[in-house]
Symmetry: C2
Subunit: 127 residues, 2 copies
Amino acid sequence: MQLDPSGEGIAIDETRRLIASNKVEGTPVFNRAGEQLGTVYNFMVDKITGQVAYAVMSFGGFLGLGESYHPLPWRALTYDTRLGGYVVDIDKDRLADSPRHTAGEDPFVDDEYGAKVDAYYRTTPTS
Amino acid sequence: MQLDPSGEGIAIDETRRLIASNKVEGTPVFNRAGEQLGTVYNFMVDKITGQVAYAVMSFGGFLGLGESYHPLPWRALTYDTRLGGYVVDIDKDRLADSPRHTAGEDPFVDDEYGAKVDAYYRTTPTS
């Protein structure tokens, strides 16, 4: 495995399993056709079990403004090492209508929000 | 559950289970005597399984300089809702000698580093 020649120590080998929680931002998210839908903004992690429950995807927006945040249940995602990102089985129209929030909102403070997301993607909760 | 009156949407109810991956920094880490050892810098997350493998704790330093980063195996941690942070069963001397790195280093690029950490804390790997 090689270190990034810039010396910042960023691994460029995609077979590396571990990712730092403060580096997940920007991981691409694709649909099954391989089209990029957006990028990961952050993970919502269960602080008791240490299991990621949702990957919050940033979608839309222009020049850093107006993007919306769409949580994706972890169980709806598959990491694709070839693509170097996550694949979710959803089309763009259905994604646009999914539960979402904007910067500055903190909807997970309401336990019902996760349940809404799970119901929309028809997955059972991770925890 | 109340929102932070500042309107930034930060939940102040400690029974909330989910934490955003970009907000884990600063979570306190205590020993069994309830003494604070340091704070979490980030989590190392298995990108395939979504399970946190290590919480990297920031320890030592002064005025933001010289701190070292000590990965703690997830299995060695217990979240304590009363303390509002993680408890690890280790004393300060043993912690000071544990596998560690400094800012700018990326030792997890080497698969052996995680194994060293697990061996030091005598835990079996999470994955």
